[in-house]
C-alpha cells in the first residue's frame, strides 16, 4: 500500500498500470483534489496514448519473409560452416599480424616476415590444436584434389605421400592478408600430421625460391609455382617427416 501524497514514482506506476487496484483507487481519489498534479499526470498519459497510436501503424507493415524463424534456422545451418571459416581467418590474421609486428620491431628490416609464416600458424591452429572443424573431409580417394581444384584451379597437384603412409584427410579454407588460402591435412596411421598449404603470393607478388626453414617445433618446406606459393608443414621431430623430406620431391 502506498502512502499519501504519492511519490513521483507512484504516479508513474499509476500511469503505467503497475499499481494494485487499491493503490490505483487511492491515487485517483487523491488526484481529484490536486488539479496541478492531475494535469501533469494527464500529460504523461496523453503522451503514452499518442505514442501507442503513432507507433501502432508500424505493427501493420507487411511481413518481411527474410525474418521468418524457419528460414533463419535454415540460413544459420548453412552459414555455420562459413562463419567458422571466417572466424578461423580472423584468428589467423590476428596471430600472423601480431607476429610480423613483433618481428618488424625486433629486426627493423624491410621484409621482416619470414616465408610462409601463415602456413605454420595455420598448422598450429588447425592441425595441432584443432581449434575448428574442417570445411571438408575426405571420404573417398581423389576427393581432396577435386575439392582443392574448385578454389585453386592452376595450382600444383597435391603431393602423393601414400608411399610414406600419409593420406589427405581434411581441408580448410582460410583468408589471409595475401588472399584466400587452403590447407590440406595429411595423416598417417599413427595420427601424425603434415599439412599442404597453398595461397596467392600476395599483392607484392612475393614468389619464393625453393627452401625450408624451421620455427620452433615445426618445419616448413616452401616453393612457388603456377602463380601460387606453397608450404608443407610438419613437426621437426616427427620421424615420418624426416623421411618425407628425404623421399618426396616437390
Amino acid at each position: 500500500m502506498i502512502s499519501l501524497p504519492p511519490s513521483e514514482r507512484d504516479l508513474h506506476a499509476y500511469v503505467d498500470h503497475q499499481l494494485s487496484d487499491a493503490d490505483r483507487r487511492l491515487v485517483e481519489t487523491w488526484l481529484a483534489t490536486q488539479p496541478t498534479v492531475a494535469a501533469q499526470v494527464r500529460g504523461w498519459q496523453q503522451d503514452a496514448q499518442h505514442l501507442r497510436a503513432a507507433l501502432g501503424g508500424t505493427l501493420q507493415q507487411p511481413a518481411n519473409p527474410y525474418l521468418d524463424p524457419a528460414l533463419i534456422r535454415q540460413r544459420l545451418k548453412r552459414q555455420s560452416r562459413r562463419h567458422l571459416a571466417t572466424a578461423a581467418a580472423l584468428v589467423l590474421a590476428v596471430s600472423v599480424g601480431g607476429l610480423s609486428g613483433w618481428q618488424a620491431r625486433d629486426m627493423t628490416m624491410a621484409s621482416a616476415q619470414l616465408p610462409m609464416t601463415d602456413a605454420m600458424q595455420a598448422y598450429r591452429l588447425f592441425a595441432q590444436q584443432g581449434v575448428l572443424p574442417a570445411d571438408y573431409k575426405v571420404n573417398a580417394d581423389g576427393d581432396m584434389q577435386h575439392w582443392l581444384d574448385r578454389y585453386f584451379t592452376q595450382a600444383h597437384r597435391l603431393p602423393n605421400l601414400s608411399a610414406v603412409g600419409f593420406n589427405p584427410v581434411s581441408g580448410r579454407l582460410l583468408s589471409t592478408e595475401q588472399g584466400p588460402a587452403a590447407m590440406v591435412v595429411y595423416e598417417d596411421q599413427a595420427g601424425h600430421k603434415i599439412s599442404f598449404y597453398v595461397r596467392p603470393p600476395g599483392p607484392e607478388n612475393n614468389l619464393l625460391p625453393r627452401g625450408s626453414r624451421s620455427d620452433g617445433e615445426l618445419q616448413a618446406e616452401y616453393w612457388s609455382g603456377g602463380g601460387y606459393n606453397y608450404a608443407m608443414v610438419s613437426p621437426t621431430t616427427d620421424p615420418a617427416a624426416q623421411m618425407l623430406k628425404k623421399t618426396v620431391q616437390f
Binding site: 513521483e8 498500470h17 499518442h50 503513432a54 525474418l67 524463424p69 544459420l76
Partner: protein, 168 residues
C-alpha cells in the same frame, strides 16, 4: 520448434517496431531484427531466460543495436561511404522544436526511446525492464521519469534550440 516459431512470428512485428524506433530506418531496422533473431535462435538452448520471451528478445535486440551503434560511430566514415548516409544525426538538428509526440520521441536518447516503448507501448513491467538493462527497479523508475519529462517538454515545444537562441 513449430510452436516456438509460431510464438516468434507473433513477436516479430513488435521487434521490428522496436528496431525502427531505435534505428529510424526501415531497412536497418529489419537488419537489426534479423541479426537479433539469428543470435536468439543460435543461443536458444543455453541463454534463454525463464521469463517473458518478448522481453528476452527485446533485450537481445537492444544490445545488438548498442553494439552496432558503437561500431558505427567508430567507423562512421566507412559507413557513410558504403550507405551514403549518416545514421548519427548531428545534435543541432536533434534539438529543433518538436511538433508532435512522435517527433519528440525521435529526439530522445536511445535509452529513453527504449524505456518509453517498453513501458508505455509494450506494457512491460518495471522489473522486466530492470532485467533488460541490468539495473535496479528504482533506477528504471527514475530514468523513466526523466524520459517522460523530456518527452513532455519536447512535445510542448518548451525547449528552444540552441541554434535558434544564437540567431536571436
Amino acid at each position: 520448434m513449430n510452436e516456438i516459431d509460431e510464438h516468434l512470428r507473433e513477436i516479430i512485428p513488435r521487434m521490428r517496431r522496436f528496431a525502427l524506433s531505435l534505428t529510424r530506418n526501415p531497412s536497418s531496422a529489419d537488419d537489426l531484427v534479423q541479426a537479433s533473431l539469428e543470435r536468439a535462435l543460435s543461443g536458444w538452448g543455453d541463454k534463454r531466460a525463464d521469463g517473458d520471451l518478448r522481453a528476452w528478445l527485446f533485450s537481445i535486440l537492444y544490445r545488438q543495436f548498442l553494439d552496432a551503434h558503437r561500431r558505427s560511430r567508430r567507423y562512421a566514415r566507412m559507413l557513410e561511404f558504403f550507405t551514403g548516409r549518416d545514421d548519427a544525426q548531428p545534435s543541432v538538428e536533434r534539438t529543433v522544436i518538436a511538433q508532435s509526440t512522435l517527433e519528440a520521441f525521435d529526439q530522445l536518447t536511445t535509452e529513453q526511446r527504449a524505456l518509453l516503448l517498453w513501458v508505455s507501448v509494450e506494457g512491460l513491467s518495471y522489473k522486466e525492464v530492470a532485467e533488460i538493462l541490468g539495473v535496479p527497479t528504482g533506477t528504471v523508475m527514475s530514468r523513466l521519469s526523466r524520459a517522460r519529462q523530456a518527452l513532455r517538454q519536447l512535445s510542448d515545444g518548451e525547449i528552444t534550440s540552441p541554434s535558434l537562441r544564437i540567431l536571436k
